[in-house]
């Protein structure tokens, strides 16, 4: 190893990360080269002085305070997100109602019409993507047209309480077509005075169709 080669690996030598063979070559060179040994000493002295620079201890109870404050800030952030969500829900409601008011009979944006045949049953899955846990949510389904919710013959309006967990929550609606024409399932989600509405348009043909499943992802 010559001086130039040693310059290139002097930090690895000091860090002790040189492979054994190169380490030996570096030591041999240093033992016989005053210049390189002098440079090594300079680096070591500087390192020693730098590492001796004092760091005052943090203020008392630093670790506990940092962790407690982090938890509090994280909770506040989540609350802000939830608050933001509520605002978004309200804004979204205006949009959805606006669509219903000013464009009567129009389909809900983003949800395609589901086509069925008479006497067919289709599973419509509503996937609610909740950003947070919601302890008490009211779900309401309204059915119009020639459809029925399987197992709830004759019921046009069904409401119940439930909880939404953070992430995907799937509601499976087995819908049976009883006659031809346009139909609609309207789902309302209510939480702390806020409401979000989804409209699922359906069209029933005279011809039959197979049992199919449709999945509709929505964000709460």
């Amino acid at each position: 190893m010559d001086c130039k080669q040693l310059q290139r690996c002097i930090d690895d030598y000091l860090d002790g990360v040189l492979p054994a063979g190169e380490q030996h070559l570096a030591e041999t060179h240093l033992a016989g080269c005053v210049d390189c040994q002098g440079q090594l000493n300079q680096i070591q002295e500087l390192r020693h002085a730098l590492r001796a620079l004092p760091v005052p201890p943090p203020s008392p109870d630093f670790t506990r305070r940092v962790l407690v404050k982090a938890r509090q800030q994280s909770q506040r952030r989540r609350q802000r997100l939830t608050g933001g969500l509520a605002t978004a829900l309200a804004a979204s409601l205006v949009m959805w109602i606006g669509v219903a008011l000013f464009q009567p009979g129009s389909n809900s944006p983003g949800i395609d019409t589901i086509v069925m045949g008479i006497s067919d049953t289709r599973e419509v899955k509503l996937v609610f993507n909740a950003p947070e846990n919601f302890q008490q949510v009211s779900l309401q389904l309204e059915l119009s047209g020639n459809i029925e919710l399987t197992g709830f013959a004759g019921r046009r309006d069904i409401e119940w309480q439930t909880a939404l967990k953070k992430g995907a929550n799937t509601l499976v609606l087995p819908i049976t077509a009883t006659g031809h024409g346009q139909a609609e399932v309207v789902a309302h989600i209510k939480h702390e005075g806020k409401i979000r509405t989804f409209r699922i348009p359906l069209k029933v043909h005279n011809s039959g169709a197979k049992l199919q499943s449709v999945q509709i992802p929505v964000s709460v």
Binding site: V17, K69, K166, G167
Partner: protein, 184 residues
């Protein structure tokens, strides 16, 4: 009346898991933050920012084999973001008595005349470090002071080893020159 039972997606990370991961590194992070900021309050704030930022990432952290260099990288990025924000800010908040070199009053009450040579060297070295540019200071503080290897610094500072070595050499030369001048 529940038509079908909901299927919640699990995956919430307990805060306890995060604390177990981060707590052993907090003192080191503070030390590193102090090296960068040269100020106790700023260092504590910097660590606080990092911890808040990482709280939702405990699952990712649990998968990391060598957490310390990874945390050093996050801390350095946060420091740079703060530094640049401060640089861009038209106004800066100055705390009374917030002078980098007078942060730590000498508990012995010694005057400059009686201060030991070692203390003076530390003051000079601190001043010399402040003359380095941002990149040079980072590599000196992380490598020569905190002992990260160049291999670890490749990832922390996102620079190849060749660049880091030459940056380190230039920084050391500059430090030595500054020390020599200040001793005259």
């Amino acid at each position: 009346m529940v038509i079908r039972r909901f299927r919640p997606k699990s995956g919430d990370t307990p805060a306890g898991q995060f604390e177990q991961l981060i707590e052993p590194h907090l003192q080191h992070l503070y030390q590193l933050a102090y090296r960068f900021s040269n100020n106790q309050t700023d260092a504590e704030d910097l660590v606080q920012d990092v911890v808040v930022k990482l709280l939702p990432r405990s699952k990712e952290m649990a998968q990391i084999e060598k957490l310390r260099p990874w945390l050093a990288k996050v801390l350095y990025r946060q420091f740079i973001d703060r530094y640049r924000q401060h640089e861009r800010s038209p106004l800066s908040l100055v705390t009374e008595g917030d002078d980098t070199l007078s942060q730590h009053p000498d508990p012995s009450g010694e005057t400059p005349e009686t201060r030991t040579e070692a203390d003076l060297t530390q003051k000079r070295l601190t001043m010399a470090l402040l003359t380095l540019n941002e990149d040079q200071r980072a590599v000196v503080l992380l490598h020569d002071v905190e002992g990260y290897t160049l291999s670890e610094l490749e990832s922390i500072l996102d620079s190849p080893q060749g660049t880091l070595k030459s940056r380190l050499n230039r920084a050391r030369t500059q430090l030595r020159e500054h020390l020599q001048k200040s001793e005259q």
